[in-house]
Symmetry: D2
Subunit: 290 residues, 4 copies
Amino acid sequence: MTDTAVLLIDCPDRTGLVARVAGLLYEHGANILHADQHQDHEEGLFFMRVEWAVGPADGRSGWAFDLEKFKAAFAPLARELNMRWQLTAGGERPRVALFCSQHLHCVADLLYRWRAGELVCEIPLVISNHRNVEDMVGFYGVEFAHVPVSAATRAEAEARQLKLLAQHRIDLVVLARYMQILSPQFVEQYPARIINVHHSFLPAFTGARPYHAAHARGVKLIGATSHYATEVLDDGPIIEQDVVRISHRDQVEDLVSKGRDLERVVLSRAVRWHLERRILCYGKKTVVFD
Amino acid sequence: MTDTAVLLIDCPDRTGLVARVAGLLYEHGANILHADQHQDHEEGLFFMRVEWAVGPADGRSGWAFDLEKFKAAFAPLARELNMRWQLTAGGERPRVALFCSQHLHCVADLLYRWRAGELVCEIPLVISNHRNVEDMVGFYGVEFAHVPVSAATRAEAEARQLKLLAQHRIDLVVLARYMQILSPQFVEQYPARIINVHHSFLPAFTGARPYHAAHARGVKLIGATSHYATEVLDDGPIIEQDVVRISHRDQVEDLVSKGRDLERVVLSRAVRWHLERRILCYGKKTVVFD
Amino acid sequence: MTDTAVLLIDCPDRTGLVARVAGLLYEHGANILHADQHQDHEEGLFFMRVEWAVGPADGRSGWAFDLEKFKAAFAPLARELNMRWQLTAGGERPRVALFCSQHLHCVADLLYRWRAGELVCEIPLVISNHRNVEDMVGFYGVEFAHVPVSAATRAEAEARQLKLLAQHRIDLVVLARYMQILSPQFVEQYPARIINVHHSFLPAFTGARPYHAAHARGVKLIGATSHYATEVLDDGPIIEQDVVRISHRDQVEDLVSKGRDLERVVLSRAVRWHLERRILCYGKKTVVFD
Amino acid sequence: MTDTAVLLIDCPDRTGLVARVAGLLYEHGANILHADQHQDHEEGLFFMRVEWAVGPADGRSGWAFDLEKFKAAFAPLARELNMRWQLTAGGERPRVALFCSQHLHCVADLLYRWRAGELVCEIPLVISNHRNVEDMVGFYGVEFAHVPVSAATRAEAEARQLKLLAQHRIDLVVLARYMQILSPQFVEQYPARIINVHHSFLPAFTGARPYHAAHARGVKLIGATSHYATEVLDDGPIIEQDVVRISHRDQVEDLVSKGRDLERVVLSRAVRWHLERRILCYGKKTVVFD
């Protein structure tokens, strides 16, 4: 096992971008494990993800890729080519907070995956406006914060939530069926760092009670969508979607039941991809490198 | 091979419905091949489909179920229980007209399936506002009518179309990517007898250019929907839907290309199910017995 | 909410079966909620599932369907028509034991669903040949039995397992990625009452290391299968299957990771359908009423 | 619209491959439209596909990428790095022959797609051991050759088929539900240039009558597989697979009917990807760049 570094780039498209980035990595002796790029010809944009080995995972053995030296050489190139970029070394584990309400299937799923090593991160904090998740959070050894929310106390509750996030140095907020709407002021503190799951195939059935709406409309498939939260409800860049077939035999409660399995899968994929730095956001869209 | 009869029923729900219908069929000696029923508990409605053998398909051999006698006995029961019902014998082949415009993948698919015996019906007529389908229609030995449509001539064109439908005694109209909007006056002539395919996962992306809209929104799956046309555009009871995965690599033309395969499948299933009398409409929904 | 009764029937096919069963239920005043039947024309078999209300779930209010009286009337009919049948009242909660080994994703999923009320049963017992599940089992308040297995001690271990199952009056055994092979002697104690999940799309890739085999063969989809265990490994009647798309980018560990989500869903559906008495087994097949 | 060139490479993996190929293209002024690469870490192999603009599609305007000059510079690099490579300019249209037997759904689908411009190739020849496709082939303006096959005349028939392929300078043979087995001698004439569709989810149900076998086994999903033909039946590198859900209600004829739609889609995708030079074969596997 080796530790790896991931470089994510987006910039205006022009010829020679791959050659220059790959050339620089080659000069520095990078052993590239995965490389992927994408061009949006309409928008004239270029996206790239490169992952390479930086040293043995145990940190003890001799060899190591000199990340600082590479950074020093890459920065002027990035400036010249007008790149936005993130360079992260695999040893860094992002710090994640989970928000939930009464329905616990998503939060239970994420906690289990985290403990099983499927999600490479720290989860130091779970926040809920209900108490029914408390014992499960305790079982996983995570700190629980009960933050009740009402129309009257929303601003105060968000202030408390933001303080908790700051105290725990949270990098990513996951809304695991958190049924309260976050204010634009909250959302803009974590741009492209709040992942939500909506229980419909967006853009159909935004807002409240999407399974009821789907049942009323008589659709033959129901869906779930994970996306980055933005100021506009259910409107952020979509990360992942999936659907399952239903029939006239399915009542609303059957939709809810079938939908739970979709929500778990669609949300956990989004969180994993974010943690593996596979996602680039632009405008209302995502590039998800697989 | 035997010919079969199909009885489709919907009525207010009450106890004993299955017992009474099944009992009557039993008394008349029906050999039931398939029976399916459904209750909508919210609306208090009952739906049933029964299919039974009525005689050998060649019509020569001796035995035959006495359909007229059964009908005479069933009618009073149906009145008593407030049933809407249709009884059709398998030998009857519905007469279908196809409408299309420039994109021919759906009409080509339906004509091929019809000739191959996958669709048990007659197709005496294809109507298009373009001429590019003409040679293919000729190859299949079907009459072609070129009915151009413009904003100024819409009413006149529809009058001509309706006349053609009447002349050919059409039972079912299939809009196989017909890109003109039919007037409410046209639609109400064929209630639950016009099947349309819309190239999105309804209710998302109604109206024009749904693939462009899907691309702009950045969805991760695209869909297609077949439904009965009603006076409100893209709002009729949904018969079938399906989706296919896309990624950031797919441009609008890739969505169009992937979508074509969905449209073919979703429309042809709807037509087949309609011809096999598997579909019951109520309100904005369908029951599709499989 | 009402309690319900479920009647499952299979018998040789003949005319009038639906009429006679539905007629008898009608005479006894049954309010049928769901009824479904199926004929296997090749084998000449008939299958039926009927569910009806037997009284309010709280048990306090006045009305109740007289189940014993119905049973007494139904038994002679069943004998006459050569039926195998099961009649269960919804209040009965089957007792389920989970078996697992090192991989805990399926057992964690089932325990969570059980606590959340998605699986209507008792789970008094979890058996594993490893200890890593112990704390989770404890969290859910279930008894844990550690039964190590080796080639030398297999017979002894199975004897101990069977004793535990008997002590806990277990109705259904769920092999939640239990990696030991059960002997035919064990399996025949629980005919159609042991549900296993195999991590391939059966009948492809039976036996050990199916993800490695799938990777070596270069398939483009991987699957998972839940089935009733029989004496022949991976050969029992299939209950449910599902697949997910993979590509050349996926290494064996990616297949394992994607497969876990399939296994969870495919196994939990099978368990739920079994508990809801939706499954009838015959020969190597199942009828699953939805 | 521009014409494009596609370079496909596979070679032993080593550092700097992307840098050197991208660098050379950059030096020659290539405007890269798509680039994708893949490493098989287990086998130590590297795969790459690059597509770039070589000039306006009409061929009239001034600018053009100098393909010959690039080739001259690339050849020594390829030798040094031990690359297998193909460089094709988009203007070249591969010449495709279709083989079929009695079931025409795949051949009808491919002919339609070809005429509609979905498949960028020439189709000068259709060969069948039956005559029922003849009028359709005539409609599309393609030459038809009737080559009957029996056990006694197989060698002779194959000689005639090979002669026809040579006469028409065929690049790719598509077995569109051709129900005769080709000899190893035939297959080795067209390595990785014969695409077959098998009506099962390989490796399950190889050989004859896979839908019957699937029905007998009681699977809950059926599949179809497109693959390159090799000397061993149904064993070649898989290009694409897809599945559809079935239930106990589906008889063998329903499987056949549902399977037809799978076969069409799975085969046409494989042919399109081959024509777009998206596929690299190695061992028993394919890399399919999307």
